[in-house]
Protein backbone atom coordinates (compact mmCIF):
# COMPACT_ATOMS: atom_id res chain seq x y z
CA UNK A 1 0.00 0.00 0.00
CA UNK A 2 1.62 3.29 -1.05
CA UNK A 3 1.81 6.28 1.24
CA UNK A 4 1.04 9.90 0.38
CA UNK A 5 4.21 11.74 -0.57
CA UNK A 6 2.92 14.88 1.14
CA UNK A 7 1.28 13.76 4.38
CA UNK A 8 2.24 10.08 4.77
CA UNK A 9 -1.36 8.80 4.83
CA UNK A 10 -2.01 5.35 3.43
CA UNK A 11 -3.37 5.48 -0.11
CA UNK A 12 -5.75 2.56 -0.44
CA UNK A 13 -6.08 1.47 -4.06
CA UNK A 14 -9.22 -0.25 -5.27
CA UNK A 15 -8.69 -3.83 -6.44
CA UNK A 16 -9.91 -2.83 -9.91
CA UNK A 17 -7.58 0.16 -10.21
CA UNK A 18 -5.84 0.55 -13.54
CA UNK A 19 -2.52 2.01 -14.57
CA UNK A 20 -2.95 5.68 -15.42
CA UNK A 21 -5.95 6.13 -13.14
CA UNK A 22 -6.01 9.24 -10.93
CA UNK A 23 -6.44 8.59 -7.22
CA UNK A 24 -6.32 11.04 -4.34
CA UNK A 25 -5.20 11.19 -0.74
CA UNK A 26 -8.14 11.20 1.66
CA UNK A 27 -6.28 13.42 4.11
CA UNK A 28 -4.59 16.16 2.12
CA UNK A 29 -6.28 15.81 -1.27
CA UNK A 30 -3.09 15.36 -3.29
CA UNK A 31 -3.80 13.65 -6.59
CA UNK A 32 -1.70 10.74 -7.85
CA UNK A 33 -1.48 8.77 -11.03
CA UNK A 34 -1.24 4.99 -10.65
CA UNK A 35 2.05 3.97 -12.28
CA UNK A 36 2.16 0.26 -11.43
CA UNK A 37 -0.26 -2.32 -10.03
CA UNK A 38 2.14 -4.98 -8.81
CA UNK A 39 3.94 -3.61 -6.96
CA UNK A 40 1.58 -0.73 -6.28
CA UNK A 41 3.28 2.51 -7.25
CA UNK A 42 1.95 6.04 -7.57
CA UNK A 43 3.39 9.39 -8.52
CA UNK A 44 2.10 12.92 -8.59
CA UNK A 45 -0.67 13.42 -11.12
CA UNK A 46 -0.20 16.09 -13.77
CA UNK A 47 -1.28 19.38 -12.21
CA UNK A 48 -3.45 21.95 -13.87
CA UNK A 49 -2.49 25.53 -13.16
CA UNK A 50 -5.10 27.00 -10.92
CA UNK A 51 -5.77 30.34 -9.37
CA UNK A 52 -7.28 29.57 -5.99
CA UNK A 53 -7.68 33.13 -4.81
CA UNK A 54 -5.53 35.81 -3.29
Amino acid sequence: MPNCLECDANIVLDQKVEIGEIVDCQDCGTEYEVRSIDPQQIDYAPKEEEDWGE
Binding site: E6, C7, D8, A9, D27, C28, G29, T30, E31, K47, E50, W52, G53
Partner: protein, 346 residues
Amino acid sequence: MNVSILGGSGYVGGELVRLLLDHPHATLLNITSERHAGRLVSAVHPNLRRHTSLRFSRMDDLGPCDLLFSALPHGSFAKHFHAFKSVAPRIIDLSADFRLRSADDYKHWYGHVHPNPETLNDFVYGIVEIRRDEIRNANYVTGAGCLATAAILGLLPLFKNGLVNDGEPVVIEAKVGSSAAGNKESPSSHHPERSGAVRSFQATGHRHTGEIIQELAYHGTPTVHFSATAIELVRGVLITAHLRLAKPLDNKALWNVYRNAYDAEPFIRIVKETRGVFRYPEPKILSGSNFCDVGFEIDPFGERLVVLAALDNLMKGAAGNGVQAMNIMAGWDERAGLHFPGLHPV
Protein backbone atom coordinates in the same frame (compact mmCIF):
# COMPACT_ATOMS: atom_id res chain seq x y z
CA MET B 1 -32.74 14.06 30.86
CA ASN B 2 -34.39 17.35 31.77
CA VAL B 3 -32.27 20.38 30.95
CA SER B 4 -32.76 24.10 31.60
CA ILE B 5 -30.92 27.18 30.43
CA LEU B 6 -30.08 30.19 32.54
CA GLY B 7 -29.83 33.32 30.43
CA GLY B 8 -31.24 32.04 27.17
CA SER B 9 -31.83 35.28 25.31
CA GLY B 10 -28.27 35.91 24.13
CA TYR B 11 -26.58 34.43 21.10
CA VAL B 12 -25.03 31.50 22.98
CA GLY B 13 -28.34 30.88 24.75
CA GLY B 14 -30.11 30.85 21.40
CA GLU B 15 -27.70 28.28 20.04
CA LEU B 16 -28.22 26.12 23.12
CA VAL B 17 -31.99 26.26 22.61
CA ARG B 18 -31.60 25.35 18.94
CA LEU B 19 -29.36 22.39 19.74
CA LEU B 20 -31.33 21.10 22.71
CA LEU B 21 -34.73 21.27 21.01
CA ASP B 22 -33.52 18.74 18.44
CA HIS B 23 -31.39 16.68 20.82
CA PRO B 24 -32.37 12.99 20.82
CA HIS B 25 -32.05 12.51 24.60
CA ALA B 26 -32.46 15.91 26.28
CA THR B 27 -35.75 17.63 27.07
CA LEU B 28 -35.67 21.38 27.43
CA LEU B 29 -37.65 22.54 30.47
CA ASN B 30 -36.97 26.19 31.33
CA ILE B 31 -35.18 28.99 29.54
CA THR B 32 -34.71 32.04 31.71
CA SER B 33 -34.43 35.68 30.78
CA GLU B 34 -35.26 38.45 33.24
CA ARG B 35 -35.64 40.92 30.40
CA HIS B 36 -37.88 38.74 28.22
CA ALA B 37 -39.79 36.71 30.84
CA GLY B 38 -43.19 35.67 29.49
CA ARG B 39 -42.27 36.19 25.85
CA LEU B 40 -42.03 33.40 23.32
CA VAL B 41 -38.44 32.20 22.93
CA SER B 42 -38.94 32.48 19.19
CA ALA B 43 -39.67 36.19 19.55
CA VAL B 44 -36.02 36.66 20.47
CA HIS B 45 -34.59 33.78 18.40
CA PRO B 46 -36.65 34.02 15.19
CA ASN B 47 -34.90 31.03 13.58
CA LEU B 48 -36.92 28.96 16.09
CA ARG B 49 -40.29 30.32 14.94
CA ARG B 50 -42.86 27.50 15.00
CA HIS B 51 -40.11 25.19 16.16
CA THR B 52 -40.93 25.70 19.83
CA SER B 53 -43.74 27.22 21.86
CA LEU B 54 -41.55 27.60 24.96
CA ARG B 55 -41.56 30.97 26.70
CA PHE B 56 -38.86 32.64 28.74
CA SER B 57 -39.26 32.38 32.50
CA ARG B 58 -37.68 34.23 35.41
CA MET B 59 -34.70 32.87 37.26
CA ASP B 60 -36.80 32.71 40.43
CA ASP B 61 -39.24 30.36 38.71
CA LEU B 62 -36.54 27.88 37.72
CA GLY B 63 -37.56 24.37 38.77
CA PRO B 64 -35.30 21.40 39.46
CA CYS B 65 -33.68 19.75 36.48
CA ASP B 66 -31.01 17.15 35.78
CA LEU B 67 -28.56 19.50 34.13
CA LEU B 68 -28.41 23.28 34.05
CA PHE B 69 -26.66 25.31 31.37
CA SER B 70 -25.72 28.86 32.21
CA ALA B 71 -25.30 31.34 29.40
CA LEU B 72 -25.44 34.32 31.75
CA PRO B 73 -23.06 37.21 31.11
CA HIS B 74 -19.58 37.03 32.62
CA GLY B 75 -19.67 37.74 36.34
CA SER B 76 -23.36 36.93 36.89
CA PHE B 77 -23.17 33.18 37.32
CA ALA B 78 -20.35 33.11 39.86
CA LYS B 79 -22.24 35.37 42.27
CA HIS B 80 -25.15 32.91 42.45
CA PHE B 81 -23.34 29.61 41.96
CA HIS B 82 -24.22 28.26 45.41
CA ALA B 83 -27.93 28.92 44.84
CA PHE B 84 -27.89 27.21 41.44
CA LYS B 85 -26.36 24.06 42.94
CA SER B 86 -29.74 23.28 44.49
CA VAL B 87 -31.44 23.47 41.07
CA ALA B 88 -29.41 20.79 39.34
CA PRO B 89 -26.75 18.27 40.30
CA ARG B 90 -24.83 19.06 37.12
CA ILE B 91 -24.05 22.48 35.72
CA ILE B 92 -22.28 23.65 32.58
CA ASP B 93 -21.37 27.34 32.75
CA LEU B 94 -20.49 28.96 29.44
CA SER B 95 -19.34 32.26 30.91
CA ALA B 96 -15.73 33.08 31.78
CA ASP B 97 -16.35 32.87 35.53
CA PHE B 98 -14.72 29.52 36.20
CA ARG B 99 -12.24 29.08 33.38
CA LEU B 100 -9.15 30.02 35.34
CA ARG B 101 -7.93 27.78 38.14
CA SER B 102 -6.16 30.49 40.12
CA ALA B 103 -7.80 33.46 41.85
CA ASP B 104 -4.67 35.49 41.18
CA ASP B 105 -4.86 34.71 37.48
CA TYR B 106 -8.54 35.65 37.52
CA LYS B 107 -7.77 39.02 39.08
CA HIS B 108 -4.90 39.57 36.66
CA TRP B 109 -6.92 38.90 33.51
CA TYR B 110 -10.36 40.14 34.59
CA GLY B 111 -9.26 43.09 36.71
CA HIS B 112 -11.30 42.28 39.81
CA VAL B 113 -11.48 39.75 42.60
CA HIS B 114 -13.46 36.57 41.91
CA PRO B 115 -16.68 36.53 44.02
CA ASN B 116 -16.25 32.86 45.00
CA PRO B 117 -12.56 32.03 44.65
CA GLU B 118 -12.87 28.92 46.81
CA THR B 119 -15.07 27.36 44.09
CA LEU B 120 -12.74 27.93 41.14
CA ASN B 121 -11.44 24.39 41.28
CA ASP B 122 -14.92 22.87 41.48
CA PHE B 123 -15.16 23.24 37.70
CA VAL B 124 -13.49 21.18 34.98
CA TYR B 125 -12.15 23.26 32.09
CA GLY B 126 -14.45 22.06 29.38
CA ILE B 127 -12.61 21.73 26.09
CA VAL B 128 -13.76 18.17 25.53
CA GLU B 129 -10.74 17.01 23.56
CA ILE B 130 -8.35 17.75 26.42
CA ARG B 131 -10.50 16.94 29.49
CA ARG B 132 -12.81 14.15 28.32
CA ASP B 133 -12.19 11.78 31.23
CA GLU B 134 -12.57 14.51 33.84
CA ILE B 135 -15.75 15.79 32.20
CA ARG B 136 -17.26 12.31 32.24
CA ASN B 137 -17.21 12.28 36.03
CA ALA B 138 -17.73 15.99 36.66
CA ASN B 139 -20.67 17.75 38.25
CA TYR B 140 -19.53 21.19 37.17
CA VAL B 141 -17.97 22.05 33.83
CA THR B 142 -16.97 25.43 32.48
CA GLY B 143 -16.94 26.29 28.82
CA ALA B 144 -13.81 27.79 27.31
CA GLY B 145 -13.29 31.04 25.47
CA CYS B 146 -13.92 30.76 21.74
CA LEU B 147 -10.55 32.23 20.77
CA ALA B 148 -8.82 30.20 23.46
CA THR B 149 -10.46 27.01 22.22
CA ALA B 150 -9.16 27.51 18.69
CA ALA B 151 -5.68 28.44 19.92
CA ILE B 152 -5.41 25.57 22.39
CA LEU B 153 -6.68 22.93 19.97
CA GLY B 154 -4.29 24.18 17.31
CA LEU B 155 -1.23 24.29 19.56
CA LEU B 156 -1.69 21.57 22.14
CA PRO B 157 -0.43 18.61 20.06
CA LEU B 158 2.87 20.45 19.58
CA PHE B 159 3.25 21.28 23.28
CA LYS B 160 2.28 17.76 24.34
CA ASN B 161 5.05 16.37 22.16
CA GLY B 162 7.66 18.89 23.31
CA LEU B 163 7.99 20.31 19.81
CA VAL B 164 7.82 24.01 20.64
CA ASN B 165 11.05 25.84 21.31
CA ASP B 166 10.77 26.72 24.99
CA GLY B 167 12.88 29.84 24.75
CA GLU B 168 10.75 31.66 22.20
CA PRO B 169 7.24 33.04 22.30
CA VAL B 170 4.19 31.78 20.47
CA VAL B 171 2.60 34.71 18.65
CA ILE B 172 -1.12 34.30 18.02
CA GLU B 173 -3.32 36.54 15.88
CA ALA B 174 -7.04 35.87 16.25
CA LYS B 175 -9.71 37.10 13.85
CA VAL B 176 -13.26 37.03 15.13
CA GLY B 177 -16.79 37.81 14.00
CA SER B 178 -19.22 40.24 15.61
CA SER B 179 -21.41 37.68 17.41
CA ALA B 180 -18.56 36.97 19.82
CA ALA B 181 -19.23 40.39 21.34
CA GLY B 182 -22.74 39.34 22.39
CA ASN B 183 -26.12 40.85 21.60
CA LYS B 184 -25.84 44.03 23.66
CA GLU B 185 -25.43 47.04 21.42
CA SER B 186 -22.55 49.47 21.87
CA PRO B 187 -21.05 52.35 19.86
CA SER B 188 -18.58 49.91 18.31
CA SER B 189 -21.37 47.57 17.17
CA HIS B 190 -23.36 50.35 15.51
CA HIS B 191 -23.65 49.30 11.85
CA PRO B 192 -21.76 52.23 10.29
CA GLU B 193 -18.92 51.63 12.74
CA ARG B 194 -18.84 47.83 12.65
CA SER B 195 -19.58 47.10 9.01
CA GLY B 196 -16.44 46.51 6.99
CA ALA B 197 -14.26 46.69 10.08
CA VAL B 198 -10.82 45.14 10.35
CA ARG B 199 -10.37 46.38 13.89
CA SER B 200 -7.64 45.53 16.34
CA PHE B 201 -9.73 45.64 19.48
CA GLN B 202 -7.27 43.91 21.79
CA ALA B 203 -3.70 43.96 20.52
CA THR B 204 -2.44 42.93 23.97
CA GLY B 205 -3.95 41.78 27.23
CA HIS B 206 -6.88 39.80 25.85
CA ARG B 207 -8.50 37.75 28.62
CA HIS B 208 -8.36 34.52 26.68
CA THR B 209 -4.57 34.69 26.89
CA GLY B 210 -4.87 33.50 30.50
CA GLU B 211 -6.73 30.34 29.47
CA ILE B 212 -4.29 29.59 26.68
CA ILE B 213 -1.30 29.89 29.00
CA GLN B 214 -3.06 27.88 31.71
CA GLU B 215 -3.77 24.92 29.45
CA LEU B 216 -0.51 24.91 27.49
CA ALA B 217 1.47 25.19 30.73
CA TYR B 218 0.54 21.60 31.61
CA HIS B 219 2.95 20.62 28.84
CA GLY B 220 5.70 23.24 28.92
CA THR B 221 6.48 26.82 29.81
CA PRO B 222 4.71 28.83 27.14
CA THR B 223 5.23 32.50 26.46
CA VAL B 224 2.13 33.61 24.59
CA HIS B 225 1.59 36.89 22.75
CA PHE B 226 -2.02 37.18 21.66
CA SER B 227 -3.81 39.82 19.58
CA ALA B 228 -7.45 39.89 18.53
CA THR B 229 -8.97 41.57 15.48
CA ALA B 230 -12.67 42.02 14.71
CA ILE B 231 -13.43 41.31 11.07
CA GLU B 232 -16.41 41.29 8.70
CA LEU B 233 -18.01 38.09 9.91
CA VAL B 234 -21.03 37.39 12.08
CA ARG B 235 -19.86 33.95 13.20
CA GLY B 236 -16.37 32.60 13.10
CA VAL B 237 -12.89 32.52 14.55
CA LEU B 238 -9.57 32.00 12.81
CA ILE B 239 -6.35 31.92 14.79
CA THR B 240 -2.96 32.10 13.11
CA ALA B 241 -0.11 31.16 15.45
CA HIS B 242 3.59 31.55 14.73
CA LEU B 243 6.18 29.56 16.67
CA ARG B 244 9.67 28.11 16.49
CA LEU B 245 9.97 24.37 16.52
CA ALA B 246 12.34 22.74 18.98
CA LYS B 247 13.77 20.71 16.11
CA PRO B 248 13.28 20.65 12.35
CA LEU B 249 10.27 18.63 11.25
CA ASP B 250 8.89 17.93 7.82
CA ASN B 251 5.28 17.89 6.67
CA LYS B 252 4.88 14.15 7.12
CA ALA B 253 6.13 14.25 10.70
CA LEU B 254 3.78 17.10 11.58
CA TRP B 255 0.87 15.38 9.89
CA ASN B 256 1.51 12.37 12.08
CA VAL B 257 1.72 14.53 15.23
CA TYR B 258 -1.72 15.96 14.48
CA ARG B 259 -3.11 12.61 13.34
CA ASN B 260 -2.05 10.97 16.59
CA ALA B 261 -3.78 13.75 18.51
CA TYR B 262 -6.99 14.06 16.55
CA ASP B 263 -7.69 11.07 14.31
CA ALA B 264 -10.23 9.67 16.78
CA GLU B 265 -11.84 13.04 17.52
CA PRO B 266 -15.29 13.46 15.97
CA PHE B 267 -15.12 17.25 15.80
CA ILE B 268 -11.49 17.99 14.97
CA ARG B 269 -10.39 17.85 11.34
CA ILE B 270 -6.88 18.33 10.07
CA VAL B 271 -7.16 20.62 7.08
CA LYS B 272 -4.07 21.05 4.96
CA GLU B 273 -4.97 20.26 1.41
CA THR B 274 -2.83 20.58 -1.66
CA ARG B 275 -5.59 21.68 -4.03
CA GLY B 276 -8.94 23.43 -4.07
CA VAL B 277 -10.11 26.70 -2.57
CA PHE B 278 -10.38 25.73 1.11
CA ARG B 279 -6.83 24.48 1.65
CA TYR B 280 -6.54 25.68 5.24
CA PRO B 281 -9.01 26.02 8.11
CA GLU B 282 -11.59 28.67 7.33
CA PRO B 283 -14.55 29.64 9.53
CA LYS B 284 -16.78 30.49 6.57
CA ILE B 285 -17.84 26.88 6.04
CA LEU B 286 -18.09 26.03 9.74
CA SER B 287 -21.10 28.21 10.59
CA GLY B 288 -23.53 26.26 12.73
CA SER B 289 -21.27 23.21 12.95
CA ASN B 290 -19.34 21.93 15.95
CA PHE B 291 -16.09 21.36 14.06
CA CYS B 292 -12.74 22.86 14.84
CA ASP B 293 -10.52 22.64 11.76
CA VAL B 294 -6.78 22.64 12.42
CA GLY B 295 -3.96 23.08 9.91
CA PHE B 296 -0.33 24.09 9.65
CA GLU B 297 2.38 25.23 7.27
CA ILE B 298 6.13 25.08 7.67
CA ASP B 299 8.08 28.16 6.69
CA PRO B 300 10.50 26.83 4.06
CA PHE B 301 13.10 29.42 5.08
CA GLY B 302 13.49 28.41 8.70
CA GLU B 303 12.11 26.49 11.61
CA ARG B 304 9.02 28.68 11.98
CA LEU B 305 5.73 26.85 11.99
CA VAL B 306 2.40 28.53 11.30
CA VAL B 307 -0.60 26.87 12.95
CA LEU B 308 -4.15 27.69 11.91
CA ALA B 309 -7.41 26.80 13.62
CA ALA B 310 -10.97 27.81 12.79
CA LEU B 311 -14.35 27.31 14.44
CA ASP B 312 -17.79 28.83 14.88
CA ASN B 313 -17.51 30.89 18.06
CA LEU B 314 -21.13 30.14 19.04
CA MET B 315 -20.74 26.40 18.44
CA LYS B 316 -17.39 24.73 19.13
CA GLY B 317 -16.47 28.00 20.82
CA ALA B 318 -19.49 27.92 23.17
CA ALA B 319 -22.86 26.14 22.90
CA GLY B 320 -21.80 23.22 20.70
CA ASN B 321 -18.88 22.34 22.91
CA GLY B 322 -21.22 22.64 25.92
CA VAL B 323 -23.66 20.14 24.41
CA GLN B 324 -20.73 17.85 23.56
CA ALA B 325 -19.69 18.03 27.23
CA MET B 326 -23.26 17.29 28.32
CA ASN B 327 -23.31 14.23 26.08
CA ILE B 328 -20.16 12.92 27.73
CA MET B 329 -21.45 13.64 31.27
CA ALA B 330 -24.63 11.72 30.43
CA GLY B 331 -22.82 8.80 28.79
CA TRP B 332 -24.36 9.42 25.36
CA ASP B 333 -22.70 9.44 21.96
CA GLU B 334 -20.87 12.76 22.13
CA ARG B 335 -22.05 13.64 18.64
CA ALA B 336 -25.73 13.52 19.67
CA GLY B 337 -27.51 16.65 18.48
CA LEU B 338 -24.36 17.94 16.81
CA HIS B 339 -24.39 16.29 13.38
CA PHE B 340 -24.96 19.45 11.31
CA PRO B 341 -21.93 19.70 8.98
CA GLY B 342 -22.19 23.38 8.06
CA LEU B 343 -23.20 25.00 4.79
CA HIS B 344 -21.52 25.47 1.46
CA PRO B 345 -21.81 27.89 -0.16
CA VAL B 346 -22.69 30.30 2.58
